[in-house]
Symmetry: C2
Subunit: 235 residues, 2 copies
């Protein structure tokens, strides 16, 4: 059984290595982290506890098809931290059997064998501004058990300390595709309210990376969904 | 010798399969097409003829390092249509020897053997709104000579006829990664002037693709540089 917070789509993946991809989203409930700027606090702060549904893999797949019809062949599993949930493996198997690719994002605090089956696995270590203290020994261990050609790293950058953390992560795992993602401090859901401020922040991070000889093999990306829809749920 | 219109960077690649990647740009002069909405008409309309420089591969590499220092390991060759130029092959070889990856964009109207060496080769057939009539026999021939794992397709969409063309291209070459890119009709270079209009257009194209069962394995992307800098040159 999988604790599901929301299922929605199809929409675009707004960030990271599959940015722009038409996809469905399955958001699981529960997280081992408490990031200060988490854009999905409702997955762990109890505020939407009554909306969490314990679903079987078949229930989830049925609901994906009810909502998305035949208009998808890619599913993104997000959280919370889906890596806390052992049964994600059976969902991944079913989606693959139904000719869907599967992307998943986790902070790299826990390993599950099913991670090896994810088509695009994003590991997103949390920088200092999150208030979390990412355990790098565990992160090393998680990454060492995965196929480097199927995973990528993403670090959110709000400030200079975060930027230095991003650089440290890039150099610690130089063989992995590396995404610097501009932080979004505007968690209200008024559509379009923050686009110009987000773009200004994005430009600042671009400038920082462009001037830095130690950050060459990197991507700098915004969150497209926040440019379009701010932090609105369900898109 | 290569006719060079401009060399600039490092900046981000704003579009397509390497969206967000830190890169240098080499823009060649000359094009066999005359797209109505071309964002780089100065490469072929004679308006900046005096700025075209005939450069050797070594000259180009020296200038890339003068401008970009050690702060890049990726170079994007754009145009115009760089596929008109036989000597691009020696530039690609030199860049590879200097540990730089190379991306290149062309409309698929001409084959060159060096295309097989490009790390990310984007073929961008031109839709009806361009006023061009893409020769699909030639396009088939060009694509058949390339390694499907190293190329991708990108189609710009301004209107419904373009969208139908995009769909046709996606289904003609179903095995290739496919990018739908929202068209930019705002070719003036006032920074930030058109962001909200471009995002509205982007949202329209997203909506169209999301509702379409025949367009599942696709990416829908904006041009990040136009959101940030409109059509300003040199960024």
């Amino acid at each position: 059984m999988i604790p599901v917070m929301e299922i929605f789509g199809p929409t675009i993946q707004g960030e990271g290595i599959v940015i722009g991809r038409k996809t469905m989203f399955v958001r699981t409930a529960g997280c081992d982290f408490r990031c200060s700027w988490c854009d999905s606090k409702f997955t762990w702060d109890g505020s939407m506890k009554e909306d969490i549904r314990m679903m079987t893999t078949e229930d989830i797949y049925r609901e994906l098809r009810e909502i998305g019809g035949q208009s998808f062949n890619h599913v993104t599993i997000s959280g919370g931290n889906p890596a806390l949930i052992k049964d994600i493996g059976t969902l991944v198997d079913l989606l693959h059997a139904e000719s869907c690719q599967v992307a998943l994002e986790t902070q790299g605090s826990k390993f599950q064998t099913w991670m090896r089956d994810i088509d695009q696995l994003t590991i997103s270590p949390k920088p200092p501004s999150s208030g979390m203290n990412q355990n790098l020994t565990i992160l090393d261990d998680v990454i060492s058990q995965l196929d480097a050609t199927k995973i990528n790293l993403k670090v959110v950058v709000f400030d200079e300390a975060d930027y230095q953390f991003a650089k440290q992560m890039h150099h610690r795992y130089l063989n992995l595709p590396f995404y610097v993602q501009v932080g979004n401090p505007y968690l209200e859901d008024e559509v379009n309210a923050h686009t110009s401020k987000l773009l200004a922040r994005y430009e600042e991070v671009i400038d920082r990376v462009m001037q830095d000889d130690d950050m060459n093999h990197v991507y700098v990306t915004p969150q497209l969904h926040t440019l379009l829809w701010s932090n609105k749920k369900g898109v």
